[in-house]
């Protein structure tokens, strides 16, 4: 029997395959089965909040190598820009303190 089932896919055993398929009982589907499946799909889709849906789409897109590299490059550029501005402010602040210390000693300030 085991060999018969194993060989059922072979061209010579088409009759046996059909016989086997017929022997498997086909359970009756519940009433309005197809309709209830589609209803469940619609309910599941409606329950997905739109906010996470667009986020999911973005995450999927960002996972593509070219988008991931572009995103990281943009963040690196933003970091460099913000750091450059902050660094320039710091540098100016240090330079100001240095000048004031040289012309107006702490005793007077």
């Amino acid at each position: 029997m085991k060999h018969a089932i194993k060989d059922a896919g072979k061209p010579g055993d088409l009759g046996l395959g059909a016989l086997l398929r017929e022997s498997i009982p086909d359970p009756p589907l519940p009433a309005r089965f197809r309709e209830s499946v589609w209803r469940r799909i619609r309910v599941a889709e409606a329950e997905t909040p739109p906010s996470t849906a667009w986020l999911d789409r973005w995450v999927e897109r960002l996972l593509l190598p070219r988008f991931a590299i572009a995103g990281l490059a943009m963040l690196l550029a933003a970091g460099v820009l913000a750091g450059g501005i902050a660094g320039a402010d710091d540098a100016k602040s240090h330079a100001r303190e240095r000048y004031l210390a040289s012309v107006a000693p702490g005793a007077l300030r």
Binding site: L75, V80, G83, G87, Y99, A104, A107, L108
Partner: protein, 164 residues
């Protein structure tokens, strides 16, 4: 359900890390540049955009002013040392301590006058608009030098005319 959340978290962390790396590197670069400048007058160049000729004039004035400034500082430090010693010994009368304080105040006033004069000279060495801005800033710093101290004292005390 958990996997997409982890992916989002990993993406977020990677983004934050990359941003911070860029930020840190740029800040360090800026600070390093400021240290490399190593010049007391670097602020004038940065803030007022002075050219080489203006910087040379300002530098000359600055170098001429520094010995006077140091002399005032030394005199103030010496008088303050004497006052501290007198207060520690407790041997002087309140009138004598008052005279010492007046003397220190007088040197400070002379020093502030010299500073204001120097700031005016420097402002004249700059383009008119920048000179005005510089002078406003330096006058404010010189005249408001004790403002914080006086303000804190006036909060603690009932007021200048609050004595009975």
């Amino acid at each position: 359900m958990r996997r997409p959340l982890l992916i989002r978290l990993a993406l977020l962390l990677a983004g934050v890390a990359v941003f911070l790396i860029g930020y840190g590197a740029a800040t360090r670069w800026g600070a390093g540049r400021a240290l490399m400048a190593g010049d007391d007058l670097a602020w004038l160049r940065m803030e007022f955009g002075l050219g080489e000729a203006e910087m040379a004039r300002v530098r000359l004035l600055h170098e001429g002013y520094l010995p006077r400034c140091r002399e005032f500082c030394a005199r103030i430090a010496a008088r303050k040392g004497e006052l501290r010693a007198a207060l520690a010994a407790g041997s002087e009368s309140p009138e004598s301590i008052g005279r010492r304080l007046e003397e220190i105040g007088s040197i400070r006033t002379q020093c502030q006058a010299a500073m204001l004069l120097h700031f005016e000279e420097v402002s004249r060495a700059m383009p008119p608009e920048q000179g005005r801005r510089y002078l406003d800033e330096m006058r404010r710093l010189t005249l408001d030098s004790h403002q914080e101290f006086e303000r804190s004292m006036s909060h603690e005390a009932p007021g200048p005319h609050g004595h009975h």
